[in-house]
């Protein structure tokens, strides 16, 4: 299973689950990263971290360390 941390700008993926049941995973779920949601990688900050993504009509930034808990399926695979 792939995680969100390894995609290129412009890639579109679908969330399949979030790893763990601590505060961080709850936070990600609350922000809309629930199974079935589609998102697009919009960009990376200058030093390669954090990531900027677009989902359900808004933009969110999160660190790679958080993005690596978001398990996704590639839309085109």
């Amino acid at each position: 299973m792939k995680t969100l941390s390894g995609f290129k700008v412009g890639d579109r993926v679908t969330v399949s689950s979030i790893e763990g049941d601590d505060d961080i995973s709850v936070r990600l779920l609350e922000m809309g990263l629930v199974p079935g949601v589609e998102l697009e990688v919009v960009g990376y900050a200058p030093l390669g971290d954090p990531i900027e993504i677009e989902l359900i009509g808004y933009r969110l930034s999160l660190r790679k360390s958080e993005a690596s808990r978001v398990l996704v399926t590639d839309k085109f695979s």
Binding site: D21, S25, V26, M31, G32, G43, P50, L62
Partner: protein
């Protein structure tokens, strides 16, 4: 006035996601009738506003902007406690007003779904409908209201549109029934909650369904500790329920987000229509602003623009010149119209010099806040946090600390308050504790005077860089480097903890509202003036009094006699050589008298008492007592130095700038100059690092609700300042081969 008016106002809680225009709506609804404070025990701001409509008074309780009602800390618990009426300091709200961003309904409905479960009469304000339309999003308001079972009122808070409709709806709220809201949770979850609730009832514990749900969902254990329901073995019951849920395919806590977002999708089906539109301007701007190369260049240029404008002679310099000239004129006017004596000295040396010396920095403060307000209002600040996060994560902080630290370059007080954007408590504390190290505008006068007087002017690179500007920048760097080290050490020691997540919404760009920006600048500028008028005024007067009294002229009686004699001789003298000799003696006498009186003053005595402590920094007792007097507010230093180095020298006070007075100062009873480059650097570094600001410490106390942190800040910063000043003095003396004075 009817009898009904006398009853208590209807209490309505305001809740919604950040960046939905909640504050704008709160301001528009309540106008100027607002009051703010803190909840006891936590750092959450308490904001109340009232308005009247149709003989009814409505009181709005503004809750902090948040994405969810799932508490994991005391601060987050406040919103739930207020809504459930569990807080003794707050009445239980009779209704809830939820603000939604029309362009972002999918995420915004999440918290609404939680609010509806509280079964309080609810009204929805559908805000920013114009911005949604630009994104191609149209909302069927009628259908949404039907689905939710609560009134939905479209608003454009920044234009004041829909505000009156909202007021009318709130006036009728008493007659509105609580919403019928089926639980979005799967049956298995509802059964578990009902089971737990039954267990509590059998133990004579009453808890609303909402709290029991939360108890089951909160795997961090925070709520269990907080609520302490049902005794020891209740934890066991919760654990068992969680286990069963996991097996049945509804694992906590994920089940909540999945159920609620499922409900959101159902509710919005057919309500929201998305027309494909070309990518909105905001998205195209964002491409550039967060681009690895252009974004960084823009960020650097922006910061340069901000700081050069603040420190430029052309923008800030002009109004500063006016203020300075105004106070000079005032000083001369008062000085020449009042008889010599304590009262004139108080007005000219104490009040006008002290308050004027501070007010001169008003333009710089206003310019810096103008930029910060614009950047915040247009949505760039979140991008700045995004760009800076990687750098900040090196010292264990997140990009969210950038905004408070930037504000602290104007003044640490709003900087400390701006730490509210940081949810993580440890992060917030660290940011708050290092904010006063950023060189605020109150340090500028110290830097300006010391640099102008004691840093030899050199130019490099064809005049582009000069030693004055370099030293100035160096002082800012001293603060930043110290802050980085302190943050790093704190995160490794007393505030150790896992790196908090960085999950930050990047809101759409919008044109900053000039009224919001203007209001913010006026508010900050005014609070600065108030501070100058009260705290600085009071310290100036106190310092003046301490330096003037007891004013025992008996101790200088022989000098005064001789002074009178010399004055008479001078009047009669005709021989030019004799006149010159007498004038020289007169000046020397004046100097001795004022010096002796100051030494004998209360401030002088205190200065001499602490002299052994400041001697290693290269300071004499006068610098020591000026610094001592500056502990309530560092701006006082200029007035104090003026007072100390001219006291009694009134005739020449106006004609000689402070800079020259300092250059002429010598160690007592010698002709060795008091100040030189190492001493000036030592003074500047001390002022760069020391916590000389009672107001900042008071704000840290208020924000942390504890005396521990302001005391900690004061102790660590004063120690740092002393060590820093000592080190720079010794190093600079060694490098410039300046002899270390030990008189």
């Amino acid at each position: 006035m009817s009898i009904q008016q006398q009853t208590e106002p209807i209490a309505v809680a305001l809740i919604g996601n950040p960046n939905t225009g909640k504050s704008t709506l709160f301001n528009a609804l309540s106008g100027v009738r607002q009051r703010t404070g803190n909840y006891p025990g936590v750092t959450v701001e308490k904001k109340h506003g009232t308005f009247r409509i149709d003989d009814k008074a409505i009181e709005l309780i503004d809750l902090p902007g948040s994405y969810s009602l799932a508490p994991r800390s005391p601060d987050e618990m406040v919103a739930v406690d207020v809504l459930l009426g569990r807080l003794p300091a707050e009445r239980k709200p009779q209704a809830v007003l939820v603000i939604l961003d029309a362009g972002n309904l999918e995420r915004n409905l999440y918290i609404l779904s939680q609010v509806l479960e509280l079964r309080l009469p609810t009204i929805v304000a559908l805000n920013m409908i114009d911005a949604a339309a630009e994104k191609g999003v149209t909302v069927d308001v009628e259908l949404l209201s039907q689905r939710l079972g609560v009134p939905v009122i479209p608003t454009r808070a920044n234009q004041g549109e829909g505000v009156q409709d909202l007021r009318k709806a709130l006036a009728n709220i008493e007659h509105q029934a609580p919403p019928e809201y089926p639980s979005p949770f799967p049956p298995a979850f509802r059964e578990e909650v009902a089971g737990l609730q039954g267990q509590l009832v059998s133990r004579n514990v009453s808890a609303p369904r909402y709290l029991v749900e939360r108890l089951l969902l909160d795997t961090s254990g925070y709520l269990e500790c907080e609520l302490k329901l049902g005794g020891e073995d209740f934890h066991q019951l919760i654990e068992e329920a969680r286990k069963r849920l996991k097996e049945s395919g509804a694992p906590v806590p994920a089940v909540e987000a999945m159920s609620r977002y499922g409900w959101v999708r159902e509710t919005l089906r057919g309500v929201v229509e998305r027309k494909p539109v070309p990518p909105p301007l905001s998205d195209r701007i964002d491409r550039v602003m967060t681009h690895p190369i252009f974004g960084t260049i823009f960020f650097a240029l922006l910061m340069m623009l901000v700081f050069t404008t603040v420190f430029s002679d052309y923008v800030a310099g002009v109004p500063m010149g006016w203020i300075e000239a105004g106070f000079e004129w005032l000083g001369e006017l008062v000085g020449s119209n009042l008889a010599e004596g304590p009262f004139r000295s108080l007005l000219v040396d104490g009040v006008i010099a002290g308050v004027g010396g501070v007010l001169v920095f008003l333009p710089q403060i206003c310019i810096l806040f103008f930029f910060i307000a614009i950047l915040e209002d247009c949505g760039y600040m979140a991008r700045a946090a995004y760009l800076m996060d990687r750098l900040f994560s090196n010292i264990g902080l997140s990009g969210k600390s950038f905004i408070p630290l930037l504000s602290s370059f104007a003044c640490a007080i709003p900087g400390v308050m701006a730490t509210r954007v940081i949810e993580n408590r440890r992060d917030r504390l660290v940011t708050m504790l290092i904010a006063p190290l950023m060189s605020c505008s109150a340090r500028i006068p110290v830097y300006v005077v010391m640099i102008a007087a004691f840093v030899p002017p050199y130019s490099f690179a064809g005049g582009l860089i000069n030693s004055h500007a370099l030293t100035f920048a160096g002082m800012y760097l001293v603060g930043i480097v110290a802050a980085v080290i302190v943050a790093f050490v704190l995160k490794k020691t007393i505030l150790r903890g896992a790196t908090p997540p960085f999950v930050l919404e990047l809101p759409s760009y919008k044109w900053p509202s000039m009224s919001t920006v203007g209001l913010r600048v006026a508010e900050k500028g005014w609070s600065f003036i108030r501070r100058a008028g009260t705290l600085i005024f009071a310290s100036s007067v106190l310092v003046w009094a301490a330096a003037y009294y007891p004013h025992n002229e008996a101790i200088v009686a022989p000098e005064l006699e001789r002074l009178a004699a010399v004055e008479t001789e001078l009047e009669q003298a005709t021989d030019e050589e004799k006149i010159a000799a007498l004038e020289e003696e007169l000046a020397a006498l004046d100097h001795r008298i004022s010096g002796a009186l100051l030494r004998d003053s209360y401030l002088g005595r205190a200065g001499r008492w602490i002299e052994p402590v400041v001697r290693p920094l290269g300071w004499d007792w006068r610098i020591g007592c000026a610094t001592l007097a500056s502990f309530p507010a560092r701006e006082v230093i200029i007035g104090t130095l003026g007072v100390i180095f001219d006291m009694g020298d009134e005739e020449e006070a106006e004609s000689l700038p402070l800079r020259e007075k300092l250059q002429a100062a010598t160690w007592d009873d010698t002709d060795k100059p008091l100040f030189n480059l190492p001493v000036a650097l030592s003074v500047m570094v001390f002022f760069a690092l020391c916590a000389q600001c009672a107001a900042t410490l008071a704000v840290i106390k208020r924000e942390t609700n504890s005396w521990r942190w302001p005391i900690f800040t004061f102790v660590y910063m004063t120690t740092l300042a002393y060590v820093g000043a000592f080190a720079i003095y010794r190093i600079a003396a060694f490098l410039t081969e300046t002899p270390i004075v030990s008189v």
